[in-house]
Amino acid sequence: MTILDLDHDSEAVFKGARDYHHTYGKLRSMGLQKGTRIRVKRIQGRNIILNILDLGVELVIDKDLAGVMEVS
């Protein structure tokens, strides 16, 4: 399952990127590390706003990227 499969307001644990994506490194340093809990705050247009619950940080990622980010 990927972030793209999550509904609005649902929570999950981030498991890592399915395929290598150069932006993944940046996302990791922004706080999206393996094992972090995330909540989908908003799905709008081409983008998803994620709340990284362990950090209290909000990140926007586009749906293409969300489609390769695995969660459980």
Binding site: H21, H22, T23, G25, K26, L27, R28, S29, M30, G31, Q33, K34, K41, R42, Q44, G45, R46, N47, I49, D54, L55, G56, V57, E58, L59, V60, I61, D62, D64, L65
Partner: protein
């Protein structure tokens, strides 16, 4: 400045002397880790890895303690002494976060101090720790070595490198530091940000609020500043100029010197200074949006629209900054990962109107049109449309590259501190004043000199400036500019847009009628009293103007004289040629500083393509507008 990566894009530095130490303090662009992906991050990462620095002051945003400590864990193995500024301590206290500073210091082997950037709280302690490090530099058992010993005591082994494994190891260590030294997990999430985002990010209501806020920005900028601009203009012409003439005549100064001061300095530089209230208020709004956290929300809202043009939301930040000034906007393209995106946005930015162009538009619009606000907004729209069409054409032809993924951090909303906003607005205004005192002053002197040379000419019509203006007039005649005075003022416009007005003020004033000989000397006390009353009236008018719903007009440049600058210019343009003149100034390049920064960021090839292309676009559009206007 903001405390998240992406706000600062270049190094900025200051020298201070403290307790006998000469400190060279360098503020680097923010970054999340040393594996930099954008040009701005590379500036910081390369510098941190270099041997040019002695001490690193790592500013930690306490609301994101663990993530910020990740960078600290990358900095420590570099072997330089690190001092932690635990910043935004006020906000963290309000959110119930407590940090055990001795525990942090013990675990990481560094000195740490709570700070509040917007009030300066804790800076003294921070500098004390910096000086402690300074005193240890070069001595055995310096700060770096001592730090290693303390870290060993805390059994903290630092991973090195930027592999995924090293990153995960650092994450675990950051987690351990957070758990042992803070109660971060008990923090209260910001419900204000959540509630505001429900409205401000709404696909319809959010866009409507965005449009309304920008309308208010322009309305308040125009209407509040208008009366003050009128007052400054009157002060320059009716008090300063008149006073200097009276004083100069009384003490027997040569007539040519009196003319030079009145025409080149007060007429040229002084005229540009008139626009300071407008520039300062516009910068106030842009700074407020940036510092409050609203700017990333605009980026998010506009992403869908930008995507249709082959762009993405991240490109909005430099484009929005360009309304403040094109130079920092082009510098902000350093935050774009993809070189193709960077070139694309760099080519769009100079088409977006900046305050320097706005002052020219304001002047012409209020002279030639009944609804100046509509004309000014139409010019802004022309700039935006041309920029978007440029992106559309380039993305589908020359700059086809793959778009970078859209990733953005949404900072929480913050009420910017009054002090910080004032400091930033003052920095921008000072730059505008500096240009008035340097570039514009020099250009005004040169233009005045060219208007009075060669010696012995009967009038400016026979001057060198007139010869140059007449030589280039055929190029501009098809777009309605057939007066040498107008075309001459276009030449220095390449340096800075506001120079057009100062040059016009010099040219038209010099070529205007001579003051009547033997005119009675004005009573300076009476003039000063008039200025005082005028200032009070401006305060009242500015408040009343903002309170009205629509745009109120302001009347810049009307000195009240029968043959003032405004009337001279009115006789040399028509509404059609004035609009075509403004189109040319809007679209052809923006200033020499923009060209210089384009060459640095995009390279010479793309800068030259832009210079040639923007002139062709500007001329063709001005030609079409002028001829359609005449035909109608």
């Amino acid at each position: 400045m903001g405390n998240w990566a992406g706000v600062t894009v270049e190094k900025s530095e200051v020298y201070i002397t403290l307790d006998g130490h000469n400190l060279h303090i360098i503020d680097l662009p923010g970054l999340y880790d040393l594996k930099a992906t954008t040009d701005a991050e590379k500036v910081a990462a390369n510098f941190l890895r270099s041997e040019e620095l002695d001490i690193i002051v790592d500013v930690i945003d306490l609301s994101n303690f663990k993530r910020n400590i990740m960078l600290t864990l990358e900095l420590l193995p570099l072997g330089k002494p690190v001092v932690l500024a635990l910043n935004m301590a006020d906000e963290s206290r309000k959110s119930g976060i407590s940090v055990d500073v001795p525990e942090v210091e013990g675990m990481l082997g560094v000195r740490a101090a709570f700070t509040v950037g917007k009030t300066g709280e804790g800076v003294d302690t921070l500098l004390k720790y910096v000086l402690e490090c300074c005193n240890k530099i070069g001595k055995p058992g310096g700060a770096g070595e001592g730090g290693d010993a303390r870290r060993k005591a805390a059994r903290l082994t630092l991973p090195r490198g930027d592999s995924e494994e090293a990153g995960e190891e650092r994450w675990k260590l950051a987690d351990r530091v957070e758990k042992e030294a803070t109660n971060f997990s008990k923090r209260k999430p910001s419900s204000l940000t959540h509630r505001l985002d429900n409205v401000l990010l709404h696909p319809f209501i959010g866009i409507a609020i965005y449009v309304l806020l920008f309308y208010l920005m322009f309305k308040v900028s125009f209407d509040f500043s208008g009366p003050y601009m009128d007052w400054i203009d009157g002060f320059m012409n009716n008090f300063l100029s008149a006073g200097f003439t009276a004083l100069g005549t009384n003490i027997g100064l040569p007539a040519i010197l009196i003319r030079f001061v009145n025409e080149a300095i007060i007429g040229g530089v002084g005229f540009v200074v008139t626009f300071i209230p407008l520039v300062a208020i516009l910068y106030f709004f842009i700074t407020f949006f940036e510092m409050s956290g609203y700017l990333p929300r605009i980026v998010f809202l506009m992403d869908r629209f930008m995507h249709r043009l082959g762009l993405h939301g991240n490109m909005m930040t430099p484009l929005l900054l360009s309304f403040g000034c094109n130079v920092p906007a082009i510098m902000a393209t350093k935050n774009l990962e993809n070189r193709t995106d960077k070139i694309l946005v760099g080519m769009m930015i100079p088409f977006m109107s900046c305050p320097a162009r706005l002052v020219v538009f304001a002047f012409f619009s209020f002279i030639f049109f009944d609804h100046p606000a509509v004309v000014i907004i139409s010019l802004y729209l022309v700039g935006i449309v041309v920029a978007l069409l440029t992106a559309l054409v380039l993305r589908r032809s020359y700059l086809k590259g793959k778009k970078a993924s859209f990733v953005l951090e949404m900072p929480p909303y913050r009420l910017p501190s009054y002090r910080t906003v004032v400091i930033i607005v003052w920095a921008h205004t000072k730059r505008f004043l500096w240009r008035a005192g340097t570039v514009i002053f020099i250009v005004s002197m040169i233009v005045w000199g060219l208007l009075n040379l060669p010696p012995g000419i009967k009038g400016p019509d026979e001057s060198i400036a007139a010869s140059i203006g007449k030589a280039i007039t055929p190029v501009f005649k098809p777009i309605g500019l057939d007066d040498w005075r107008a075309t001459t003022s276009l030449i220095p416009a390449f340096l800075a847009r506001e120079v057009v007005l100062s040059s016009m003020a010099v040219i038209y004033k010099t070529s205007g009628p001579e003051p009547a000989p033997g005119a009675a000397s004005p009573d300076l006390l009476v003039l000063a009293k008039e200025q005082g009353i005028g200032l009070l009236t401006s305060v009242k008018d500015s408040v009343l103007a903002v309170a009205t719903l629509g745009f109120s007009s302001f009347d810049v440049g009307d000195t009240g004289e029968e043959d003032g600058l405004r009337n001279s210019i009115k006789r040399s343009f028509t509404p059609a040629s004035a609009y075509s003149f403004m189109i040319l100034l809007l679209l052809y390049n923006s200033c020499v500083a923009t060209v210089a920064i384009m060459i640095k960021e995009l390279g010479r090839k793309y800068s030259l393509i832009f210079l040639g292309g923007s002139f062709v676009i500007a001329w063709v559009l001005a030609f079409v507008v002028f001829n359609v206007w005449i035909a109608l």
